[in-house]
Subunit: 225 residues, 2 copies
């Protein structure tokens, strides 16, 4: 438990989101990385309606933002890399190892997430739109293609660069959880097992518990948990 | 002109693509960064049908891959950052400046590109699908929302972090060119001007000329240029 009121590191998160989004909001990526790195942090919880000035910290009005008094940034990929540079547990120190880990973060966020995210939206928030059903085969094709290529590359390895966990695995596990939650990993047992290995890490479990605790505390009256 | 047959840095590119994709393939991002950094490089041109073993270098069967004999990586974001760490012209040396630049690369690739890319596909390769037209207002809404937020943040500044160009601007210009080519910047004069400032840089113009020269050289017989 690294949550400390007077910690130098501040991370923004949402005080409550509907149940389908709990466990999926991107502050969890940063909480997990901080737990792996063993860095104390505090959380600034934001209401669903953020104050207008928050856009000065985050132009897209999202969470998380990170601020340790020296570096203030948004984008979970950039934040994870900054944390990684402070902890060899997340980012190898040799140039090849470091940039392979960074490569997998970009792969997770640009070569995988967009395809599985839009596919998940078609079966979720967009599902009541008349075009969602006819569009599904096309989006499914591209999502399954990318997941198949990733599955082939992972093979029977424990982590993406074989034996050691990096911030690239952390980001890929977080992105693949979107696919798993929307039924897109059915044909890829090794990717599902990779997600489970990530979720079994003590740092993930602590981060998830802290992420969920805020929602319980701010549960709106009269809304199902 | 930094293209040298015996350069240590090798970048993969495609020997030919149809006219609509010329100037848009992602090796251009890397060529531009190398020109800004003043680093010699050579290009390994690949046919449309890549050899099966290329997937060992790039699991998604795309270009570019980067190899300087020390670090072999894919994902243009990771490659640009690696080049940036070798050139202060691209990546500031102070921690805040460095991570702000990295932040904008992730913003370009995860908060902007997916939305404008899918919107561009609906008006392009997907336009003959019956669901493309009814789906357009939804995709247009999200793409315009993100572009509007970015436009507000850029304001009248020359570059995203005010007065100096970084690898974050380079990536954002490259991503916004997708929006510009598909008519998505009509309401955002400052973003269109930002793209023009990027394209006016000598390093971009040299990189684009070299990128296009390969296509002219490998123009298939009987296909319009």
């Amino acid at each position: 438990m690294l949550l400390k009121d007077n910690a130098a590191i501040e991370v923004t998160a949402l005080q409550w989101v509907p149940p389908f989004a709990q466990g999926m909001v991107k502050d969890l990526r940063v909480r997990w990385a901080l737990e792996e790195a063993g860095l104390d942090y505090r959380v600034r919880l934001l209401a669903g309606q953020r104050p207008a000035e928050y856009r000065q910290d985050q132009p897209f009005d999202q969470v998380p933002c990170f601020n340790d008094g020296k570096v203030q940034i948004f984008e979970s990929g950039a934040i994870l890399q900054y944390i990684g540079e402070q902890s060899e547990a997340l980012l190898p120190r040799d140039q090849l190892g470091k940039f392979r880990a960074i490569q997998w973060m970009f792969a997770a966020l640009n070569s995988i997430e967009p395809f599985i995210q839009f596919r998940a939206l078609l079966g979720g928030p967009f599902s009541d739109q008349e075009w969602a059903k006819p569009a599904t085969p096309t989006f499914d094709h591209y999502a399954q293609l990318r997941l198949g290529q990733l599955s082939e590359r992972l093979g029977e390895k424990e982590w993406l660069e074989a034996s050691r966990f990096t911030v690239g695995d952390l980001m890929m596990v977080m992105v693949l959880r979107i696919a798993e939650n929307s039924g897109q990993l059915a044909d890829f047992d090794n990717l599902a097992a990779f997600v489970k290995r990530g979720e079994a890490r003590p740092a993930f479990r602590q981060a998830l518990a802290d992420h969920m605790a805020a929602f319980e505390q701010h549960q709106p009256e009269g809304v199902a948990a």
